[in-house]
Symmetry: C2
Subunit: 308 residues, 2 copies
């Protein structure tokens, strides 16, 4: 890289930071004046080449995945995103045209999700490309949807389809073509649905490690048992329910809501133009089970992606 950090920032990233909070990327900091009556929701996720994406993936899809996995977290909490910090650790092999395409991907998703770059950090690394994003959203005070609110008697819902991203990853690893590769590379955060679930959902999170593994977090934090009916798990690919529910990288919203709110939940989904499927129920107890059509737990080799 012949060009300096400052030129890269001025040429490629400052145009992405057209918000007063970013101070034109000309200071070391960003200044956020939070919206009245709101709390700030923040989340951070890093994606690493060779772990979370392929180093030869198109640069714009890498940028968009890094953004979207974070926007997905905010959406699941009922928050509306407004900005993000970007930390790039760049290997020497990264070219100017790669960076341009990367910035183009950011610009595209900034328009889609109405967010702005607030600041960040650029450094060289002898290791793999790492893209770290911290995303910020607003939620009315006390209205964030956490993991800990599920109650026995609640129903379990999930948006979209489960396992498609996993099918895309399997195709990439097998060097085959598949319509699901796009789903793996560029997830679809449910930013329209999330805010409409405020006041309806009792607990929610986004499915990143796998439907079963993530619902286990809700069961754990809410101190309840969650049962998922395998046949009801919405799938676009040919993965079995057990495969789909443990694949990960879905970036759908899984949530619980009282049975009495079922109609309201489905109306909210319709208003958000987002498919939502009822997949299970909450009971007293602990832990999670994926049930076959006879109501018996299906033994699982693993519940989802393990980071170590």
């Amino acid at each position: 890289m012949a060009r300096s950090e400052f030129r890269i920032i001025a040429d490629l990233f400052a145009p992405l930071a057209r918000t007063p909070a970013a101070l034109g990327l000309k200071d070391d900091v960003a200044l956020i004046a939070p919206r009245k009556g709101h709390e700030l929701v923040l989340t951070t996720d890093a994606i690493v080449a060779g772990v979370d994406f392929f180093a030869n993936d198109p640069p714009d899809t890498i940028a968009r995945k890094a953004l979207r996995v974070n926007l997905s977290d905010l959406a699941a909490k009922g928050a509306e995103p407004f900005g993000y910090l970007l930390t790039l650790a760049l290997p020497k092999t990264v070219t100017q045209s790669w960076l341009k395409a990367f910035a183009r991907g950011l610009a595209q998703d900034q328009r889609t999700f109405r967010i702005a770059l607030l600041g960040g950090d650029l450094s060289g690394t002898p290791g793999p490309l790492t893209v770290s994003v911290t995303a910020f959203g607003h939620v009315p005070k006390g209205k964030a949807i956490l993991r800990r609110g599920a109650r026995p008697g609640d129903l379990v819902f999930v948006s979209g389809t489960i396992g498609d991203s996993g099918a895309g990853l399997a195709a990439l690893l097998a060097k085959k073509r598949s319509p699901f590769i796009a789903r793996y590379r560029v997830p679809e955060p449910r930013t329209r649905l999330g805010p409409k679930l405020r006041g309806l959902a009792t607990a929610a999170l986004d499915v990143s490690d796998g439907l079963i593994a993530d619902l286990a977090h809700i069961a754990d934090q809410s101190q309840v048992h969650i049962a998922v009916e395998a046949a009801r798990v919405p799938r676009g690919s040919k993965l079995s329910p057990a495969e789909a529910a443990t694949a990960g990288d879905d970036y759908e919203i899984a949530f619980t809501a009282p049975r009495a709110r079922r109609a309201k939940v489905l109306a909210a989904a319709k208003a958000a133009r987002t498919p939502v499927t009822e997949i299970g129920f909450v009971m007293p107890g602990r832990g999670i089970a994926l049930l076959d059509s006879a109501g018996k737990p299906i033994p699982l080799k693993r519940t989802g992606y393990r980071h170590f």
Copy 2:
């Protein structure tokens, strides 16, 4: 690493997150209710093994450096820190006892600076250990000290000493002992001084890339010329003024203030128990110069650290 991400978080990091905002690290997000009448100041900096620190540095000093370089940014803006996000990319070679010592370093500095862990992300990496911190502070609305406020006639000040960290790095590279190695490994962010400069300093930043390189940012953003008198640059090591002023990693605050406020600035420094030295002046024009005792610019091979 035999233990999973979740155990590491529960055992080592959850005890660092004893603030309601962190939700016990049991959700995907943190929830910040900003202080009334204040803005949030945020900054993010990553440190990479082999670039910003040595992989065999003591783990607690790596943790503390990652925190402190960010706290230094907040202090220079006049902000009071309250929390941080931590993103760790861990190579497989990292052991449980290394992580324990790392967490101990965080705990120590959390007490020193009265901050809490708000959340973060843990992932494996085939590359070097990378520690990324995003730090959050409060500043009364409109009172953040930016880079763009320096005016002709202002004086230039710097806290502490310059070049000591560079001398420490040189000793480490030469495999020699030096009292300055500690300074390189664990910088001293000027968190007491920063908030006291609100309403006094017209522009400020922390010295990370080198005194001259960083003051050039103030000159650039404020559209002024800055002259630094070499003989006045406060030094603890045997580096020459030109070496010290281009060494970097100092994490002192460099700032400008009107001549009429000189006495107030020195009183604020005393109240903060932080040495502050007058080192130069601001003039109409552009750019920066390091002046010898005859008032002539000293030619510099470089102005500071280049990231690429």
